[in-house]
């Protein structure tokens, strides 16, 4: 146990006041933001009387027989949740959606956030007994770089120009251009720390709280405690069992009948059954996942700004939340930054369904017989067809005719997405606002589905990425959101909540806006109450 963790436990137990705790933690070199989250974490822990031991049984959707233990291949809940049990990253995404130290205990930007120095935590052991050091960190990051990497994090890691060891406990990461959000990029669940040269993915070796006990992909994965964990307040369970239950009703039933202790992706339509139960509860977090209807700004008739405006007022956003997520969602404002993001522009006026305004702009556009065809399929996401039909109905009331074209599910993302002029799809949220804006709205981004092309926007984005000053960054990001809300062809009616459910005896399973099951960290954060 290091000094900081010791203090944390002392504070949780009430032997150290908050003021003393903060003072001593800062003296130890932790940053003010990090200490703040430490305080909250320690206090939340004390409030729930953490217990050691027990087996947590999870019922999770988002697993398949084709899953493997190689972090490069992960893309869905089950393996993400398993991954955070086995491994640690350099940086963690805190409950407040901010980067906080994990295996890197400190990080500092240089040259306009172009170079980053990461100081690594000392004394953390891999499961095989080797101590974690700079060579491991360099190797682990490089797994996701280069033209031939198969990593799901290859995209965000493309910005990395070089990773260099400075000494045994320090590495230097150089970026192609400045990015003040780089620590947030490192919270990605692919970027796990493994021993230098490690390749035997069937028998993973990490620094996490658990090791693999049984791996039966798509059916059941069991982890057991690896021994003493370097985070004193986490990894309290003896074992974690991941039952893959992709059928929503089966998952709900398993929780209600007590065969599992917690589930992800609770069914919004029937989740009220859980809310009513005396032993169960919902874990709900506003999230960054959102459905999209993207008009390509450079293709007729969508080149017409007034038509795009008309469409913005033709979306009944409230009704979308009800139809798509049974009310478990938050309003969208045609820009991809959700309320849960620290850089959410709270002063933008919320777009509302207004048939009169829609009619007005549609008339102004002067395209009375414009052919508006929305291509959709439930392959985009479950409910994408409903979304299109609802837009058709609400736009119809404003005198705008929208044709809904149902496309074949197979190959939807190959043949329709990025190709059609008006297409339904979705995005999972990104931990950093600049990351989301970069991936889908930068004029040269390959996934720029609305062909949004604005030199002013691109410049704001580059400036925001390179800006270390919080206030300035915020103003840049706010401006970009305003531009998208006012003019972009992307209709973002709403954001989906993460909806987990659990037995009340499970503690430490807190809502997180990043992803379901406490942003994947359920294994190390949860405990069973006596």
């Amino acid at each position: 146990m290091n000094e900081l963790d010791y203090l944390k436990v002392q504070h949780a137990l009430g032997r150290l006041s908050r003021r003393d705790f903060i003072g001593r933690a800062i003296a130890l070199g932790a940053s003010a933001v990090a200490v703040n989250s430490l305080v909250l974490g320690a206090e939340a822990l004390a409030a729930e009387t953490a217990q050691k031991g027990g087996t947590l049984r999870l019922g999770l959707g988002g697993g398949s027989t084709t899953d493997s233990l190689n972090p490069l291949s992960w893309n869905d809940s089950v393996m993400i949740d398993v991954g955070f049990g086995l491994f640690n990253g350099l940086v963690e995404n805190s409950a407040e959606n901010r980067p906080v130290p994990e295996l890197a205990e400190k990080y500092e930007p240089k040259d306009g956030a172009k170079t980053w120095i990461f100081t690594l935590r000392k004394g953390v052991m891999f499961h095989n007994g080797k101590e974690f050091d700079a060579d491991d960190a360099v190797y682990s990051l490089n797994l996701h770089r280069g033209s031939d990497t198969k990593s799901g994090a290859a995209g965000p890691m493309k910005a990395v120009a070089d990773v260099k060891k400075l000494d045994k406990n320090q590495i230097e990461v150089t970026l192609a251009s400045g990015n003040a959000d780089f620590p947030t990029v490192l919270t990605d669940y692919h970027l796990m720390m493994v021993p230098n040269g490690f390749t035997d993915w069937a028998k993973p070796v990490g620094t996490g709280a658990f090791t693999v006990d049984r791996f039966d992909p798509g059916v059941r994965i069991a982890l057991k405690k690896a021994g003493p964990y370097w985070k004193a307040d986490r990894g309290l369970l003896d074992a974690v069992e991941y039952n893959v239950i992709n059928d929503t009703s089966a998952r709900m039933n398993a929780l209600i009948s007590g065969q599992v202790d917690a589930i992800n992706r609770a069914d919004p339509k029937t989740v009220s059954r859980i809310a009513k139960s005396p032993t169960l509860e919902i874990v709900r977090a506003a999230g960054g996942w959102y459905p999209v209807m993207a008009m390509q700004d450079d293709r007729d008739p969508y080149t017409n700004l007034d038509l795009r405006k008309a469409m913005k007022y033709a979306v009944d956003r409230e009704q979308m939340i009800k139809t798509l997520f049974s009310g478990y969602g938050t309003l969208g404002n045609d820009n991809p930054i959700p309320k849960s993001d620290p850089y959410f522009n709270s002063q933008l006026e919320q777009l509302k369904y207004d048939p009169d305004k829609a009619k007005f702009y549609f008339k102004k556009a002067g395209l009375a017989d414009a052919k508006i065809v929305l291509q959709t399929s439930d392959a985009a996401f479950n409910g994408a067809v409903d979304m299109a039909t609802l837009l058709q109905a609400t736009a119809g009331k404003a005198g705008i005719t929208v044709d809904v074209k149902k496309e074949p599910a197979d190959g939807y993302f190959d043949n329709v997405w990025l190709k059609g002029a008006f297409v339904a799809s979705y995005w999972g949220g990104r931990p950093a606002a600049t990351q989301m804006l970069d991936i889908a709205y930068q004029s040269k981004a390959p996934w720029n589905e609305s062909h949004w092309n604005s030199p002013k926007f691109d410049k704001l984005l580059t400036d925001a990425q390179g800006e270390v000053d919080e206030a300035k960054r915020k103003s840049y990001i706010w401006d970009m959101q305003a531009m998208l809300t006012d003019e972009s062809g992307t209709l973002i009616p709403c954001f989906r909540d993460w909806l987990d459910a659990k037995n009340k005896k499970v503690g430490g399973h807190t809502p997180h806006s990043g992803f379901d099951m406490d942003n994947g960290r359920i294994a190390e954060k949860a405990f069973l109450k006596a």
């Binding site: 027989t65 059928d247 197979d410």
Partner: protein
């Protein structure tokens, strides 16, 4: 007799060959080339060509078909594209689970259905006959997931008698395995008993209309003896056929039941493989299903022949 059986076997082999051609051709014409399915967004023309070469997709389909079939005949189904595991190894425990559930359901459903059917035939037109008819018609008519959810709602959630998750592992002991798979078994029993029971009743009754039964009646034999001893053996052929069809369904058609109860069977594996374009697994599953279907039908044919003295002793 032996000649007849040999004929059936030869026919079965030919059907299997035809099925293998269909399976291979079917996976060939799936939209989306295999290499692009693997590479997804990383696909550049060069990497696609390299991947096609690595997978051997650049060679003519007939060559690949012959290689695949001869491999399969030796039990070598290749390697899964998604996780690089040996397909045969991946399928074996799943196939065992599927067969276990099918046998479990069949051992209960077949005797039950035949007994119920015979009783109904004995009591033709009576209260019991009508009751069984209505009840089985109901269980046959509702879709299996509906039956499954109703069973879960009452037996698992409200009463808590049986688990709703049938997540067995290879080392689950037999008794626990039977408990875990009780609800899926019951669902399947409810779904198939109706077919078999009604077929038993109908074919026994049709035999009951023949002259030799009238003779037996006039002789004063009791009704149960006429049904069991005289009518039933002569009604066996259609009953065996419907049983074979239901057994085949139990093995190849229970994907929905597997999904509802989270049972790690072959159907679930195949669905996963199809959605990930994992062609070797899809082909292997398809071939195994074909073998089982053909084998069961052939067995039914042979048993039907054996149950018929005229066919057993051809002049």
């Amino acid at each position: 007799m032996i000649k007849l059986i040999a004929q059936r076997l030869a026919l079965g082999l030919m059907t299997l060959f035809a099925a293998s051609v269909l399976i291979f051709a079917g996976t060939e014409i799936l939209p989306g080339d295999l290499a692009s399915a693997i590479l997804q967004t990383n696909a550049t023309p060069e990497s696609l060509a390299a991947m096609r070469k690595e997978l051997g997709l650049d060679r003519p389909p007939t060559t690949r078909y012959v290689e695949w079939l001869s491999g399969a005949a030796h039990g070598n189904f290749g390697v899964s594209l998604a996780n690089k595991r040996d397909v045969a190894e991946e399928i074996a425990p799943r196939l065992q689970n599927t067969i276990f559930l099918a046998l479990y359901a069949a051992l209960i459903a077949v005797p039950l259905a035949v007994a119920l059917g015979l009783l109904a035939a004995v009591n033709q037109g009576g209260f019991y006959d009508r009751l069984v008819n209505v009840v089985t018609l109901m269980t046959v008519s509702v879709p299996e997931y509906f039956v499954a959810y109703i069973l879960i709602k009452y037996l698992a959630v409200q009463l808590g008698w049986f688990p709703s998750l049938a997540n067995v592992t290879p080392d689950t002991p037999l008794l626990e395995r039977m408990n875990l798979t009780f609800l899926p078994m019951l669902t399947l029993v409810l779904v198939i008993t109706g077919h078999m029971m009604r077929m038993t009743r109908a074919s026994v009754l049709s035999v009951m209309a023949s002259p030799y039964i009238e003779m037996a009646l006039l002789k004063g034999l009791p009704k149960w003896r006429i049904v069991v001893q005289h009518a039933f053996p002569n009604a066996l052929a259609p009953i065996i056929n419907v049983i074979a069809l239901d057994l085949a369904y139990l093995i190849v058609g229970v994907v929905i039941v597997e999904a509802v109860f989270v049972y790690p069977g072959l159907g679930q594996l195949m669905v996963d493989a199809v959605s990930k374009h994992d062609v070797p697994v899809v082909q292997a599953c398809g071939l195994i299903f074909a073998v089982i279907y053909i084998l069961l039908n052939m067995t039914a044919d042979i048993l039907a022949i054996m149950s018929n003295p005229r066919l057993r002793h051809p002049r």
